[in-house]
């Protein structure tokens, strides 16, 4: 038997007011009667970092797409900053597995792209100073005028972090952002992400396959299971911040990872 390490829903003390609220969320695909999500309840609080882990097909990508306003839910409340999410919004920042920078635009032009799309060329030009400050924050100051073809994979993802942050979104949705990078770069980028989230007081929601990545970054982890896609447990990670890579070797870290692995393993055994 797997014992929950903590009671469900015990929010850490540092979390603030609710930013993103989801209640009674379900998603059914009419085409093949597939229940992708059922009864999902989730509240993201200001400054919180929440991850979701689960096997393929557990609905975590569907959940993220609904939260991004890319697809509609079948039932349930999806509310960001008091406003129902009815489509893509400027206050939702998103990051994908691939950096997806446009190769015909410089790094800086890529970073201000969301501003240009939403508010036009003049606003994009006005945002250049802010974009430069963001590039400085991720250590790409000297690469502002370089084309993405000359950036490494890690640098490209750092630029895409800036592109996500430039609209000052209320929530960051991260879809396995570093899974295409090699392991060393990935560890480094995770520490960078933690620092950037702390400096910008960001509220973040991460989808990942890596249990270690989820534990090192998160305040809470939602463990999901498939058929139907649902949250089976919410694991609160009570490790001190800032987290360091050395923590991976501690017994406590190992217990968290082991606990989540057991939860997911029950499904695999079924």
């Amino acid at each position: 038997m797997v014992q929950p390490l903590r009671d469900h829903g015990a929010a850490p003390a540092r979390a603030g007011r609710p930013v993103y609220e989801i209640a009674g969320l379900s998603k059914t695909y009419a085409r093949n009667q597939l229940v992708a999500l059922e009864g999902v309840e989730l509240t993201l609080r200001q400054g919180e970092f929440v991850s979701v882990v689960g096997s393929s097909g557990c609905g975590k990508s569907t959940l993220l797409k609904i939260m991004a306003g890319l697809i509609p839910p079948t039932t349930g409340r999806v509310v960001l900053e008091g406003q129902p999410v009815l489509g893509p919004r400027a206050d939702i920042g998103m990051m994908f597995q691939q950096a997806t920078l446009l190769p015909w635009k410089t790094t800086l032009e890529n970073v201000v792209l969301p501003i240009g799309i939403r508010q036009g060329r003049a606003a994009a030009a006005a945002a250049r100073a802010r974009a430069k400050a963001l590039l400085d924050l991720v250590g790409l100051k000297d690469f502002a005028d370089v084309y993405p073809g000359e950036l490494s994979g890690g640098m490209a993802q750092r630029a895409s972090i800036c592109r996500m942050l430039v609209t000052e979104p209320a929530v960051l949705l991260l879809d396995e952002p570093f899974s295409a990078l090699d392991e060393l770069t990935r560890d480094f980028m995770n520490m960078e992400l933690q620092r950037i989230c702390a400096e910008t007081r960001a509220t973040a929601f991460l989808v990942t396959h890596s249990l270690a990545e989820a534990v090192i970054l998160s305040d809470r982890i939602l463990v999901m299971r498939a058929r139907p896609g649902r949250v089976i447990e919410e694991v609160v990670i009570d490790l001190p911040r800032p987290r360091t890579l050395e923590m991976i070797n501690t017994a406590e870290f190992g217990r968290y990872v082991g606990h989540i692995r057991d939860l997911l393993g029950q499904e695999a055994a079924q």
């Binding site: 890319l70 893509p88 919004r89 994908f96 997806t100 190769p103 015909w104 792209l113 969301p114 939403r118």
Partner: protein, 279 residues
């Protein structure tokens, strides 16, 4: 020698023929070709009306070259053909691009327009030449129309393919940024499609030249095609060869103009996809 250290040099073994430098290989092949040509014609195995000697051909090349440089009637013919090809290329680019966007960007275009385009494309388009002459007369208009007709289809197909070349991630990114259809088209799909569109334009240059010369063969006029036909009817085979060689320079010029524009515009993608001459 009592040297204890053995040094080995790793030698990449290439076949002898692959070790010839490019310039020498090209020149050698050319000289071999001319030598065989010379032997065949000198020995009298082939009638000089069918195949002139290299010497005669060179003389005519020089003659035609002098005529062109002195601004004589051949230059006027070359200019007529150049203008015809240029108009045809611009028209086919404009129509081909527009139809390509219609087919690639709208369901209507894909469902309703594309089948008809494919049906027309499978026809032997040269066969339309008499129709264009009947409709538009013996001036350059009928030649422009035939050449543009032939050259349009590869641009349609390439443009439509280019518009669908953007990745799922890129489309999702634009959706999350709240981009409208026109923004996605102009800021994502078209730039991504440019390498494809240029490939279509390069194929179109070949079609344009074929169309223009066919039109001039069949519809007369004052272009190079008419000169070639005249010389052929006079059994002046060396002149035909010379005119074809100068004409091919026109086709090459058009092709490299497109390749140059591609290098300027698609600066981020200098490799792959683009065929010969893309560098």
């Amino acid at each position: 020698m009592t040297d204890a250290v053995q040094t080995t040099v790793w030698v990449e073994r290439e076949a002898l023929i692959d070790r010839i430098p490019r310039w020498a290989a090209m020149l050698g092949l050319f000289l071999a070709f001319v030598l065989i040509w010379d032997l065949v014609t000198r020995a009298g195995w082939v009638s000089p009306i069918i195949l002139p000697t290299p010497r005669e051909t060179l003389d005519d090349l020089i003659f035609v070259g002098q005529n062109l440089l002195s601004g004589d009637y051949m230059l006027a013919a070359l200019w007529t053909t150049t203008r015809t090809a240029a108009y045809a290329f611009l028209i086919s680019a404009a129509i081909g691009f527009s139809l390509g966007v219609l087919v690639g960007e709208t369901k209507f275009g894909e469902r309703a327009v594309l089948p008809y385009l494919v049906a027309i494309d499978t026809m032997p388009k040269i066969a339309f030449a008499p129709l264009f002459i009947a409709w538009l007369g013996f001036g350059i208009e009928s030649k422009v129309a035939l050449a543009a007709f032939i050259a349009t289809f590869p641009i349609v197909v390439a443009t439509a393919a280019g518009l669908s070349a953007s990745s799922e991630n890129e489309r999702m990114l634009f959706r999350t940024m709240g981009a409208g259809r026109m923004q996605t088209l102009f800021q994502l799909k078209l730039p991504n499609g440019l390498p494809y569109i240029f490939t279509g334009l390069k194929i179109a240059t070949v079609g344009v030249m074929a169309g223009v010369i066919t039109g001039e063969f069949l519809g007369g006029g004052k272009g190079m095609g008419a000169l070639i036909r005249q010389s052929a009817s006079q059994m002046n085979t060396p002149r035909v060869f010379a005119l074809i060689l100068y004409l091919s320079l026109l086709g090459l010029g058009l092709y490299f103009l497109v390749a140059w524009a591609q290098r300027r515009l698609v600066f981020w993608n200098r490799s792959g996809l683009t065929g010969p001459g893309a560098g």
